[in-house]
Symmetry: C2
Subunit: 351 residues, 2 copies
């Protein structure tokens, strides 16, 4: 009898918020690696907000997932068969195998992980793509100076939690924005932020701005943007002259489809443009794939902080590949707490 | 009999577009310089779009002109009395004496001009504040590379005309946007732009975008923003990944008062934010007073271009201080052609 594998494909392009029927779980025989190839078993699948963009047909910085195609995603996997000199059975690797239980690879674009250095799941979080996103966004585009004030939205997410902790390491005042009292308490007590505003407790942008202003008595020098929406509108008037806004994401707007003139915002373009001009703001969109030359510097610094305990992280784990769609949908609504992972198969390196 | 001088003060804060009654012409005795002071006679007054911002009470990067206060502005003036060792009668200086015929100064913040080097009125234009604005905006915030495409709005204005000519000197494709066929012809024939789009001939942003797209077959790498409005909306979808938008002005929106949510724009905040993120744009507001350390480099380069004929300029001259309000109002509507000046008194250096 042939061994079977599972994969999740894009069944339909979502209208607004994705629903379970936009995904389809498929079973098929585990493929056999050819000459020079390896076969891997996926252990951890990373769920990330950018995946919402890949589900749309809109032109973006990356091609959309085709209908019927396997959902893209970063993974940690174990090599279970190899005809490749560089890779041995039992190796744990990080690679973009997507939402599936097994995959074939020619061995390129993989990174070998050392389970003795850090839990291998961190290669998808604090020591992986979200980590370098936080590092590059804060350092290269935020250009922090000790004593400045940093506001970070999605503050307990995989990116935001490292942004804020790095900010503290650099001597900044750090104020998070997160959804719910539990996340806010975590940001202050576990991540060491100076304060955290609960956007769910604020009726509107104006109410949130009042809360933020209290915690940012010297104004805001860097706003690390992960969400857009109400939080952006709350922060913008608090920005100091020569402030920086690294634009990393806009999760509150990801489900609005083509984002036409009708998409929700109470702020006008002229008002935004006037803020940028009068305050001489530097607003910089960035996509981490443009910046992988910074990976060695990032890894050296953040793995050091992780080892010394200066930086910590939190994971939310969904069990089994079939749980991925619901976990992804929940994450878009803020249901995760820290890095959202799917345990696709048992992690042999975890006790 | 005492000699009399004239000055123009802010009589009322404008609602929308300024009107003549928002200004008041006053006559008063010419003051007598005290110990260590000089008396100047203003020759040239510069009219610039930023002055519209100073008429509002809104918080900005500079304090507003108080009601009853002399309108601010850059001038070229002649020293006609001096008790200051550094300044002699007959010296031609550039300084911020505002909308008036005479002024007293302690001699600080003045720049001596050499009429043999260039017409002294250029100290208010191509070799002055508009010039360094063009130079810093294009070089420091636009970061041009030969072969790229630059779009500049208000293309025949004091700033835009130098932006485009510098762009050509740096090997860029340069496409201007200006109001009217006459200005567009000037941009191409006299300033050497590759093309110029007449925004008055375009029914809306979408029509303008089609014209721009034809002239920018490789997309837009730098949009030098002077106007906001329809032009911004036309250009934004044409921006290339990693494009740069130096935000120097937004003259089409200056008369919209406090620029609340109702100010005119058909583009939504989320759509703009998505462009910035997906295209990894660098949007940078700037105010030239932050960058006067660049003055020597600017002056060396641009005075060289001017001497060699690589850079040219055009002036619109209003005659007499009393003509300043109407000329200023016309300029906000695009009525000027090149640098808008007021000849307050005869220029002894001009033939």
């Amino acid at each position: 009898m042939t061994d079977m594998m599972q994969r999740i494909v894009l069944a339909a392009r979502p209208q607004g918020t994705p629903k379970p029927a936009d995904f389809r779980l498929e079973s098929l025989p585990v493929p056999t690696p050819g000459k020079g190839e390896i076969l891997v078993r996926v252990i951890w699948l990373s769920l990330d907000p950018y995946m919402r963009g890949r589900m749309d047909d809109a032109k973006s910085y990356a091609d959309p997932v085709p209908l019927g195609g396997v959902m893209e995603g970063g993974t940690v996997a174990e090599v279970i068969a190899s005809d490749h000199p560089k890779w041995q059975v039992g190796d744990i690797v990080e690679g973009r195998f997507g939402w599936q239980s097994h995959a074939i690879s020619d061995g390129a674009m993989l990174r070998r992980l050392d389970p003795a250095q850090a839990p291998v799941s961190t290669a998808l979080g604090v020591l992986g793509m979200p980590g370098i996103t936080a590092y590059v966004g804060l350092n290269d585009h935020g250009r922090p100076k000790a004593g400045e004030t940093l506001v970070v939205s999605a503050a307990t997410g995989a990116v935001g939690s490292l942004v804020g902790q790095l900010g503290k390491a650099y001597g900044l005042r750090v104020v998070g924005v997160a959804g719910g009292a539990r996340k806010c308490a975590f940001a202050v007590q576990e991540l060491g932020f100076d304060a955290c505003i609960d956007h769910r407790a604020a009726a509107d942008a104006s109410a949130m701005r009042k809360e933020l202003a209290k915690e940012c008595p010297a104004g805001v020098d860097i706003y690390f943007e992960n969400v857009g929406g109400k939080t952006l509108e709350a922060v913008l008037p608090l920005m100091n002259p020569l402030g920086r806004i690294p634009v990393c994401g806009m999760i509150s707007w990801y489900n609005e489809g083509a984002l036409g003139a009708g998409a929700a915002s109470t702020m006008s373009m002229p008002a935004l443009w006037r803020s940028i001009l009068v305050k001489r703001l530097a607003v910089r969109g960035f996509i981490i794939t443009d910046h992988y030359d910074r990976f060695p510097a990032f890894l050296a610094e953040v793995s050091g902080h992780l080892a010394s305990g200066k930086v910590t992280y939190r994971e939310t784990i969904a069990e089994g590949l079939e749980a991925a769609p619901e976990a992804f949908i929940a994450m878009l609504g803020g249901g995760n707490f820290g890095k959202q992972l799917v345990r696709v198969s048992p992690d042999p390196t975890r006790g």
